[in-house]
C-alpha cells in the first residue's frame, strides 16, 4: 500500500516541479516553502490513510479472533444422526412373531415452569384461577382450587405426569408459556397386563424388575444391542387365548388363582405362560407391584394324580411293568402308620391303563413300590424335580423335595403325586420329556433358532414314550380327562386334584386342581399345563372341585383356539393307534 502511494504521487510531482522551474525564473526562492508544504500535506494524508487502514485491520483481526475462539470453545449446534435420534433409550421386547410386547414410547407430561416468561413479572398471562379453570376443562379430574393455588405459588414442577397428545394440543392452545409439555420416554406395554409375569416391569431410574425386563436389563440398555428388538419365545395370540380361558375358568370356579403353560415339546420354548391374578406392568413401576407372585414358575404345589403317568412311565422304562394286562390289587394299602386309599371303589383289581383312567392311588402306589424308591427318585432327579425349574425368570420356586434316600412311604406317596411339591413348569417339562420320545430339555423364554435347541438328556426310552402317548390319549377318551378332549386335536392328558397341605395335615376343602396334557397325541407338539388354586364347587363346575370339572374343560376350550395358530390342524381321521390297548379298558359296553 505504501509503495502504491509513493508510485501514485511520483507522476503528479513531475509536472509540478516542471512548472516550478518554468515560473521560478523571476523569484526562485519565494516558491520553495509552498512546495515543501504540499509535500508535508501529502505525507500527512498518507499517514492518516495508513492509520485508518491499520484501524480496520485491527478490527478485522479482533473479529477473526472472536470467530476462531467461538469456533473452538463455543458449543456446537446439536446435530444428531438418524440412527442416534431413533435409538430407543431401552430396547424393544417382541414376541416370537415380532409383535411388540414392551417398547419405548414417547409420552407427554405437563410441567409448570414459572421462569419461562423470562421477566420478573407474573409467570402466567392470565390469572392462576382462570388458567386452573381452563385446565379443569381439559382434565376433568383435577381439583380446580388446588391447581390455582399450585399455579399461584410459582414453584416449578409436574402438574401432570402423563397426558395424551390431544390433551397436549389443548394445553398448547391455551397460550401459556409457563405450561410446558416436555416429551419423555415411557416403557409401554401395548398388550396391557398380557404376559405381565413373563415381562415384568420397569421402575424409572432403576431398571427392570421381575420377569424378562430384569433378566435382559443389561442387554436392553446396551447402546450397540438395543436397536435390535429381543424376541421372546412367547406367541402373543396363544398367550391371549391362554389368559382368556384361564381367567374364565378361574372366575367360573371361584378359584383364588390360576396358572397355565404352553410348552413346545421338542425345543423347550415356552409358547405362553400365565399366572392369575396378574398386574398391569404399565403402572406397576410407578404405583408399586401387586400380584407379582408367579404361580407358574414360583408357586410349588403337590400335583397329585398328574404325577401318576410319570410313575407308570418310570416303571415301564425299568421293566417293572411289562404286561399292561396284568391286574394289580386295588385294595387300600397300609404303609407304616398311613393308609393309602382310592377316592371311590373301582373294583378289587385294575390293570395299569385302568388305574390311570380311573386315577387309582392304590395301584399307582403299588407300582411305585414295585419299582423301588431308588429308581423313582432317580427318574424324578432326571426330570429336574429336585431343583428350581430351569428358565430365565428370576422367580423360580424351590421344590419341596425329600432330602436323602426315600423311605417306602415317601416313595409310595410320591408315586401318586403327594409328598413332593413342584412348580407347574416342572410338570410341563416332565410331560414334554414323557411324550416327545423321552428327552428332557430345559424350558426357555427366548426364541430359539433350530441350531440352538439344546440336546437335552434322555429320561425315558422311545418305546416307553410311545406307550405313554397311547395311555394319555386313553385317559381323555375313557377316563377323567374327557372334558379336555377337543374334537380333532387328539388331546391326551391327566387330571390331578390334590388337597392343599396346611397346618396339621391336608385341608379337605382346599384343593389344587391341575390338568397336564399334550396334543396332538399321534405326534406331540405342545404340552399344556393348567392349574387352578382352590377352585370351589360352583354351578359352572357342576358343584365339583376335582380337575375333571374345573381345569380339564379349560384345556378342552383352549386347545381348539391355539391349535391352528401353532400349526396343528384338527383332523377327525387321525389319532394315535390304541388298538392294542383298547380291549383292556373298553369292555365292549360303549
Amino acid at each position: 500500500m505504501n509503495m502504491m502511494a509513493v508510485s501514485l504521487t511520483a507522476p503528479m510531482n513531475a509536472p509540478l516541479s516542471g512548472r516550478a522551474i518554468h515560473t521560478a525564473t523571476p523569484v526562485p526562492a519565494g516558491r520553495l516553502p509552498s512546495v515543501t508544504l504540499r509535500a508535508q500535506l501529502l505525507w500527512l494524508a498518507r499517514v492518516r490513510v495508513l492509520w485508518l487502514l491499520a484501524g480496520f485491520a485491527g478490527i478485522a483481526l479482533v473479529a477473526l479472533l472472536r470467530i476462531a475462539s467461538l469456533g473452538f470453545a463455543g458449543t456446537a449446534p446439536q446435530r444428531t444422526s438418524l440412527e442416534e435420534a431413533l435409538l430407543p433409550p431401552r430396547g424393544e421386547i417382541t414376541d416370537r412373531n415380532g409383535a411388540p410386547l414392551a417398547r419405548a414410547f414417547p409420552a407427554y407430561s405437563l410441567w409448570f415452569e414459572p421462569s419461562a416468561m423470562g421477566d420478573s413479572g407474573s409467570p402466567l398471562v392470565h390469572a392462576p384461577q382462570e388458567v386452573a379453570r381452563q385446565l379443569k376443562a381439559i382434565f376433568p379430574d383435577i381439583d380446580e382450587a388446588r391447581m390455582a393455588k399450585r399455579l399461584a405459588s410459582g414453584k416449578a414442577g409436574y402438574l401432570r405426569r402423563r397426558i395424551l397428545p390431544e390433551e397436549a394440543n389443548k394445553v398448547f392452545a391455551l397460550g401459556e408459556v409457563a405450561l410446558e409439555i416436555p416429551r419423555e420416554t415411557d416403557r409401554y406395554y401395548p398388550q396391557g397386563s398380557l404376559a405381565a409375569h413373563v415381562l415384568g416391569y420397569v421402575v424409572e431410574d432403576k431398571g427392570g424388575e421381575t420377569g424378562m425386563e430384569q433378566v435382559l436389563d443389561a442387554r436392553l440398555k446396551n447402546a450397540e444391542l438395543r436397536t435390535q428388538p429381543v424376541a421372546l419365545s412367547i406367541d402373543v395370540r396363544v398367550q391371549g387365548a391362554l389368559e382368556d380361558e384361564l381367567r374364565r375358568g378361574m372366575l367360573a370356579t371361584n378359584a383364588i388363582g390360576a396358572a397355565g403353560i404352553v410348552l413346545d415339546v421338542d425345543t423347550g420354548e415356552v409358547m405362553a405362560m400365565a399366572s392369575l391374578p396378574d398386574f398391569d406392568p404399565n403402572v406397576a413401576g410407578a404405583s408399586g407391584p401387586v400380584n407379582v407372585f408367579n404361580r407358574a414358575t414360583n408357586g410349588v404345589f403337590e400335583m397329585g394324580s398328574t404325577f401318576k403317568p410319570l410313575t407308570v412311565a418310570a416303571a415301564i422304562d425299568a421293566g417293572v411293568v411289562r404286561d399292561l394286562s396284568k391286574r394289580w390289587d386295588a385294595s387300600p394299602v397300609s404303609v407304616g402308620k398311613r393308609s393309602i386309599k382310592d377316592s371311590h371303589n373301582m373294583g378289587a383289581s385294575l390293570n395299569v391303563p385302568e388305574a390311570l383312567i380311573h386315577s387309582s392311588n392304590t395301584v399307582t402306589a403299588r407300582v411305585g413300590d414295585a419299582l423301588g424308591a431308588t429308581k423313582l427318585r432317580q427318574t424324578m432327579v432326571d426330570l429336574g424335580m429336585d431343583r428350581r425349574p430351569i428358565i430365565e425368570l428370576p422367580a423360580r420356586g424351590r421344590p419341596i423335595w425329600q432330602a436323602g434316600p426315600w423311605s417306602r412311604v415317601t416313595n409310595m406317596t410320591v408315586a401318586f403325586g403327594h409328598g413332593l411339591a413342584v412348580t407347574p413348569l416342572h410338570l410341563a417339562s416332565a410331560y414334554a420329556a414323557m411324550v416327545n420320545g423321552g428327552t428332557w430339555r430345559p424350558a426357555t423364554l427366548m426364541k430359539l433358532a433350530p441350531a440352538d435347541v439344546p440336546r437335552g438328556h434322555r429320561v425315558f426310552k422311545e418305546s416307553t414314550s410311545s406307550r405313554m402317548r397311547q395311555m394319555l390319549r386313553m385317559i381323555s377318551l375313557y377316563g377323567t380327562g374327557r372334558s379336555a378332549d377337543a374334537p380333532g386335536y387328539r388331546v391326551g392328558g391327566k387330571t390331578g386334584s390334590a388337597e392343599k397341605a396346611g397346618v396339621g395335615g391336608y385341608n379337605k376343602t382346599k384343593v389344587v386342581s391341575s390338568f397336564a396334557a399334550a396334543f396332538p397325541m399321534d405326534a406331540p407338539r405342545y404340552v399344556v399345563v393348567v392349574l387352578l388354586d382352590e377352585p370351589k364347587g360352583t354351578l359352572a363346575s357342576s358343584f365339583q372341585r376335582t380337575a375333571a370339572f374345573t381345569s380339564a374343560p379349560i384345556v378342552g376350550k383352549l386347545v381348539p383356539r391355539i391349535g391352528p395358530m401353532l400349526g396343528v390342524q384338527p383332523d377327525d381321521t387321525r389319532d394315535v393307534d390304541i388298538s392294542d390297548l383298547r380291549y383292556l379298558v373298553d369292555k365292549g359296553g360303549k
Binding site: P100, G240, D244
Partner: protein
Amino acid sequence: MMNSSQARSLGWAAVLAICLAVVTVLSFKVHAVKSEVLLAERQLISLEREKLLLETEFETRASQRQLAEWNQVEFGYDAPRAGQFLDGERQLASLGEVRGPDAPNPIRLARADIGETAAGEAESDAAMRSPVSGAKVTLASAGTEKGAGAVFTQAFGDFLIEASPIRPAKAETPRVAKALAAKGLGE
C-alpha cells in the same frame, strides 16, 4: 496496446476470478444440499416417531384382550373345526371331481325363476331395472356403440338428478327435461 505477457497475466487473473466464482457458487450449493439433507433427516425422524406412535396405538387398541372381548360380545367367532380344514391339494381336488357316467344329477339350490320374462328377451339379455323408478337400466357393455359417458348418463342420469339436491339445468336427460317442462306448463 498490451504486450503478450500482460495479456497472459490478465488471462490468468480472469481464469482465477472465474474459478473463485465457481468455487463460491459450488460451496453455496453444497451447503444448500447439506441443509436439505439435514431437513430431510429431521423429517424422517419425526415420521419414524409418528409411525411408532400410530403403530403402538393400533397395537393397544387391538390388544389380545380387547379382541377377545369384542369377539365375545359382538362377533362370536368359534375356533375352526376339523371339517373346515383341507389337508393339501389332493383333498381340494377331490371336491371338484368329474361326475361319473351314471351319477345322478346334482341337486341345485337357489334357482332363479325366469318364467315371467318377456318372450322377446333372451335370458341373458334381461334388462336390469332401477329399484326406484322401475325403469329399464342399460349398463355399459362390450356391444354398446355409445360412449361410456352417454351410457352412464342414460342409465343413472335420472337417478342421480333425483337424488341430488342440486339440479343444474344442463345435467337433465331429455326425458326428465320433458317431464319438468310438462310440470312447468301445468302450474
